[in-house]
């Protein structure tokens, strides 16, 4: 039993609990109504289209505020407070949540993240060849995509829609392509979000993208770790506040770190920067989901650390590394 007590095992329990809460929570913990959800501004992809969910992500209010409120600055000469108050509340709530858990919302609580990791586990058990790490070149090409999605699909297109430059379909374009919308609703037995719209070219493009992306994500997750997370616009939103997060990844490695690269191999987001030398430095990268795998797979005592404020929650160790490697071998057969 002791051999299963690892950070990853704990994370799986938390992920499963969070998945149940965020996908089915309205049936037990909250209610069906939007007004009764936990925060309505969650920094994780729990979808508002899921009628049975316990909470929903901050991206849908952000898009609606751009479309219906911020745009009034340009169309109705609305006052700054009136136009921006909703956005400030959303961003403020996200900031408070990031302060508490930082980017662990991705690695520990996001239902779509857990869904992808589950598919990867299935792929491993099916004996599919796993792509351990994407190369640096690919990573450098993929990284800007999330910023493009965040800036254009979450902020700019909805704002232009509100001003009147774009059609109604661009009012919440990110939700229109988000795989979490299809996954979470399907998980509750509601298949109405699987469709191809022929209303106009805009709707057709967005629904086509959504369905292709969802199918592609499932197939890729069978052999690549967390494929959608790499382009998720939640990462840029979190990055705006990651400096204030109490939970962080700290590296103390100037002399003890041998740059073995184990941390990079363990990282599901292929963050090569974490193997760079650092002495007592917060190395929580924009792409980091604070899953803690780099700590588990670091063979050196005290080099990689999870810190919460001044407290050290977990440190890498030789013993921990041996145990984790053994479990990994057992799991992969």
């Amino acid at each position: 039993m002791d051999k299963l007590l690892t950070l990853t095992a704990l994370r799986r329990v938390v992920q499963l609990t969070a998945f149940v809460f965020f996908v089915y929570g309205a049936m037990i913990f909250t209610t069906f109504y939007t007004g009764d959800k936990l925060t309505q501004n969650l920094p994780a992809l729990s979808c508002a289209y899921d009628m049975k969910g316990g909470d929903f992500c901050a991206l849908i209010p952000l898009q609606h505020q751009m479309d219906h409120r911020v745009s009034t600055l340009f169309t109705q000469n609305a006052g700054a407070m009136e136009a921006l108050m909703g956005t400030l509340i959303t961003v403020g709530t996200v900031a408070v949540l990031i302060l508490i858990l930082n980017k662990a919302f991705c690695g520990w609580l996001c239902p779509l993240g857990f869904f992808q990791e589950t598919i990867t586990m299935i792929g491993t058990k099916l004996g599919l060849t796993q792509l351990i790490s994407l190369n640096r070149e690919t990573i450098n090409k993929v990284r800007p995509i999330k910023w493009f999605i965040f800036l254009f699909l979450v902020l700019i297109f909805p704002l232009l829609t509100g001003i009147g430059f774009l059609g109604h379909e661009w009012g919440n374009p990110y939700c229109s392509i988000c795989p979490s919308r299809i996954m979470t609703t399907a998980m509750t037995g509601d298949m109405s979000q699987i469709y191809l719209s022929q209303a106009n070219n805009g709707y057709l493009i967005l629904s086509l993208l959504a369905d292709l992306l969802f199918g592609l994500m499932i197939a890729l997750a069978l052999f690549v770790r967390q494929p959608f997370c790499r382009i998720c616009p939640m990462l840029p939103l979190q990055t705006l506040f990651k400096k204030i997060g109490l939970l962080r990844l700290v590296k103390k490695g100037s002399s003890s770190c041998e740059s073995c690269g184990n941390c990079v191999k363990a990282c599901p987001m292929d963050i090569y920067e974490i193997q760079d030398s650092a002495e007592n430095k917060n190395i929580t990268h924009s792409d980091c989901t604070l899953c803690g795998r780099c700590i588990e797979f670091c063979p050196h005592d005290g080099v990689m650390n999870f810190k919460y404020g001044p407290l050290t929650l977990l440190s890498s160790s030789k013993e921990g590394f041996k145990k984790r490697t053994k479990i990994d071998k057992w799991w992969k057969g």
Binding site: T31, F32, Y33, T34, G35, D36, M51, L128, T129, L131, H168, I182, M191, S192, I194, Y195, L196, S197, Q198, A199, N200, S207, L208, D211, L212, L213, F214, G215, L216, M217, I218, A219, L220, L222, F223
Partner: protein
Amino acid sequence: MKKIILVLFCAAALWGFGDGAIYWAPHGCDNGKATAAKHGSHGKGESAMFALMNQEGNASAHLILPDLSEKPLTFKAATVNLPKPSMGGYYAMVAEGNEMNMTYSAVRYLSLQGRPAKVSPTKLTALPKTDLEIIPDPLHREHDRYTASKSYRFLLHFKGKPLINTTVTLETHDTPVQTYTSDKTGAFLITLPNDFKNVKVGRSENKPSEFLLSTQYRFGEHLYKSTLTMPYSLNPNDFWQSQSYGAITIFIGFLVGLVFYRRIKKGAKNG
């Protein structure tokens, strides 16, 4: 005078709907829409004026606000004008009247935007509003709407307690009356009909229709009649959205992913 003509026109258009029971219907006149536009928190093109159809005798009406406080509504030629909403959330319009040995009532819910009331909508639906009451369980969610081809659950209560084995009728303008019977918990499930005609592509291009749930219950010599009316919209999946094409597209996306897998596996074999 203009108002009276409009009410008569509206009544003529809805002739036969509701089988004599009172019920709320939106009043689509310019005044109602202009007032709604001034309020700024009704949906686009919606009216702030409602008519109590088949109104007789001494019916009175009031509005229950999201914080569960009440405001009286004043009739002007069988219509009421809603006041500017002071908070966001669900409102319930309630009309009640009495005749000899008969009590009749009508309820309608509205979702309006504004500063949240911080009171759960479950409390508004659970609050007894009339002796005999049809209660949405739940209401459609905020920013959502009742939609054709979808099923919705309702509860039937009499003096705050579940009313079992009682018939409820569902009427829409273009589908014959359907009847449902409440189960042992007082619940019944309806499926809204897909009966929209002359449909144009795009949700906003098609006006919502109305459905009416009505029931009656005799307690001793006294007859209670109650209705619930709500708007419902067409379901895009019945018209310009194809679910089968959607599923095929997901499958194509999956196949593209498998092509990547084959390439990677080939690359791995070649070192």
